[in-house]
């Protein structure tokens, strides 16, 4: 199995396991799932340190986009708390 296949398979297993576990615990907030996915993506990509430099650059850009999404979720939560929600 090639390095890219292992990387994709690791992410697929991690995402599916997360969705299954959170669903089993009755989690019904989409932002919780998304946050878990972002953390898993960043950790798995960091662990695959020997990916091709070109692939790593592209995946880093994807990481920035996902982290941006995560920051939006955090900002919305902060606004919600400040408004006393």
């Amino acid at each position: 199995m090639t390095l890219y296949n292992r990387y994709l398979l690791t992410l697929a297993v991690a995402f599916t396991a997360t969705a299954t576990v959170l669903a089993a615990y009755g989690q019904d907030r989409l932002d919780a799932y998304f946050t878990a996915y972002v953390i898993e993506y960043l950790v798995v990509t960091l662990l695959y340190v020997y990916l091709d430099p070109r692939a790593r650059r592209l995946l880093d850009i994807m990481g920035y986009v996902l982290f941006g999404g995560f920051m939006v979720i955090v900002a919305l939560k902060v606004v919600e708390i400040l408004r006393g929600g």
Binding site: T16, Y37, D52, R54, L58, I61
Partner: protein, 256 residues
């Protein structure tokens, strides 16, 4: 197709990654609103969202695949090595090659093949000119051929020259063999009294029995020897190789 669509759907890459990526991206993008608004299921929506993410990642990986397929690269490599083998056979050269670091081989790590077989390894103490036939010592028989090897070609993939310690050599070899060439899944380097042992796991490379391998070592050994020579800053010779069931062990001798 140009601009953003060309970035998302690369025309040149009809690889399995691109096809899987497009399938996952579109199925996830269609399923997510259906699960959210129609079925009202957050876990299923999250699953569709993960499909979108995996699709986007697959498309990014498709864009970074090498433009030359691995099979084509192997054919080109074997053709080059067979030409070199024919040249060496004509010259009657049978001595084992010594891999020189870039500091001793005119700026690029290359392999020196002595024209006269000697029981002693050739001693190279000064930088050799970047020519094909070189004098590496003061004696009349100290003539050799300086050749480019697979190890030479992969060296630019390292961002910085490796250090001499086992961990630094291991990191450099893993970056090349696992990350760039994707011909092994694990690399272990052990150094003991002038012998560097490189153990490779999950090897995916057809090790044919070419005559040239007796002189240069297999391409895997060539890469290992070039990286170790560059890291150690000394000439390195392939002492022995063992290949069995997806595992390779390469013993390299550092010539000091």
């Amino acid at each position: 197709m140009g601009g953003l669509p060309a970035i998302i759907f690369p025309m040149e890459s009809h690889s399995a990654y691109a096809r899987i990526g497009i399938a996952l991206l579109f199925s996830g993008a269609v399923a997510a609103p259906l699960f959210f608004f129609v079925a009202g299921s957050i876990p299923l929506t999250a699953l569709a969202l993960s499909s979108v993410l995996l699709g986007a990642i697959s498309l990014l990986l498709a864009r970074s695949l090498p433009r030359v397929p691995p099979q084509a690269a192997q054919v080109l490599l074997e053709a080059g090595l067979e030409n070199l083998a024919a040249l060496l056979e004509e010259l009657g050269v049978e001595a084992k090659a010594v891999y020189l670091p870039s500091a001793l081989a005119g700026g690029r790590p290359r392999a020196l093949i002595p024209l006269h077989a000697n029981p002693e390894r050739p001693e190279v103490t000064r930088s050799l000119p970047g020519r094909m036939i070189v004098e590496y010592g003061p004696g009349p028989e100290d003539l050799g051929i300086l050749v480019t090897t697979p190890g030479t070609a992969v060296m630019p993939f390292l961002e910085a020259p490796p250090g001499p310690s086992s961990s630094e050599l291991e990191a450099a070899l893993a970056r090349i063999l696992v990350g760039v060439l994707d011909v092994a899944t694990s690399v272990q380097v052990v150094q003991e009294s002038g012998v560097v042992t490189v153990r490779l796991g999950g090897v995916r490379f057809d090790q044919k029995d070419l005559w040239i391998y007796r002189v240069l070592g297999t391409p895997l050994a060539s890469v290992a020897a070039a990286v170790v020579a560059e890291g150690a800053g000394h000439p390195v010779a392939v002492h022995a190789e063992e290949h069995a069931a997806g595992r390779s062990t390469i013993h390299l001798e550092v010539v000091r």
